[in-house]
């Protein structure tokens, strides 16, 4: 099974990279762009027969290591 974890700074935590990218996009003429957030994606293979079990495992990985829930939120895709 392939797992994808998307990690972003939480709403309310200043995303300075997002802001800088947004300003650069405005500078290139895309004036309609707003609320840019820069995050990261972590992908890996996971040997698990059951999708629900896999999701639970990946969620535990996020809580323990892949995300710092003080500042970050995450979204898990398994399939």
């Amino acid at each position: 099974m392939r797992a994808k974890v998307h990690v972003f700074l939480k709403e309310g935590v200043l995303d300075v990279q997002g802001k800088a990218v947004e300003q650069a996009l405005h500078g290139l003429g895309w004036a309609d762009v707003g609320h840019v957030r820069v995050g990261k994606t972590i992908e890996f293979e996971l040997a698990a027969g059951d999708k629900a079990k896999a999701e639970a495992q990946v969620q535990a990985m996020c809580e323990k290591l892949l995300a710092n829930t003080v500042i970050e939120s995450y979204r898990v895709e398994v399939g």
């Binding site: 935590v13 200043l14 990279q17 800088a20 290591l65 500042i71």
Partner: protein
């Protein structure tokens, strides 16, 4: 008096810390590799130094917080041993859950490297007792992710309990409430972004950092 400096792959202030502790306190300093599973017997002070442990992979301090030695550091924290995390060491302590909050990217996106004036917000901790009567001290910061963040409830609690120990006079990186250093609720774990190890004798521009190491070991 015995101190230990933990060395992670990518630490780059470990030897500065050793020299700073030796010269300011005369204590014996052991260098402890991050893969060790024991700390020196009877250690009074453990320092997690600055640097870029594990190349700042994933998040600053995230990988180092899982190093084998950190189980021992946590156990020592539980026994009340004095622990100081400086810069990357502060990030590691936050990632390890030994201190509240987190350090995020500097507001101006710039790496900030300069001497900064600090208010000693609480001179009644075991790390700051030697600053009694001093309103301001000077140390150097050097960080790209030194912007202290915690949610409002946590910030209120830290302020109320006197856990904010140092505050920047002028905020260099966007830190919440100008926070430069905090202690845990028990008062034996300190994290700070400014470097006392770069300010331990007048030739370095400031000797104010020496007082921090002296206080930490005097209370042992």
């Amino acid at each position: 008096m015995k101190a230990a400096v933990v060395v992670f792959p990518g630490s780059n202030c470990d030897r500065d810390c050793r020299t700073a502790i030796e010269r300011s306190t005369g204590a014996e300093v052991a260098m402890v590799w991050h893969k060790e599973t024991t700390l020196p017997e009877g250690v009074d002070l453990i320092v997690l130094p600055g640097g870029f442990s594990y190349g700042d992979y994933l998040r600053c301090g995230a990988m180092a917080a899982l190093s084998p030695v950190m189980a021992e550091v946590k156990a020592a924290a539980g026994r009340g041993v004095a622990i100081v995390g400086i810069c990357n060491g502060f990030q590691i302590l936050c990632e390890a859950g030994l201190l509240p909050g987190a350090l995020i990217r500097n507001e101006g996106l710039k790496y900030v490297c300069k001497p900064v004036a600090l208010e000693v917000t609480n001179a009644q901790t075991r790390f700051t007792a030697g600053y009694a009567g001093r309103r301001q001290v000077t140390m150097t910061v050097g960080n790209g992710e030194g912007n202290y963040y915690a949610d409002e409830a946590t910030l209120e609690r830290l302020e109320g309990e006197g856990q904010v120990v140092f505050r920047y006079v002028q905020n260099p990186n966007g830190s919440a409430r100008r926070i430069a250093g905090v202690v845990n609720d028990r008062g034996n774990v300190l994290g700070l972004m400014p470097h006392p190890d770069r300010a331990f004798e007048p030739e370095l521009g400031s000797a104010d950092g020496a007082i921090l190491f002296q206080s930490a070991l005097a209370s042992a």
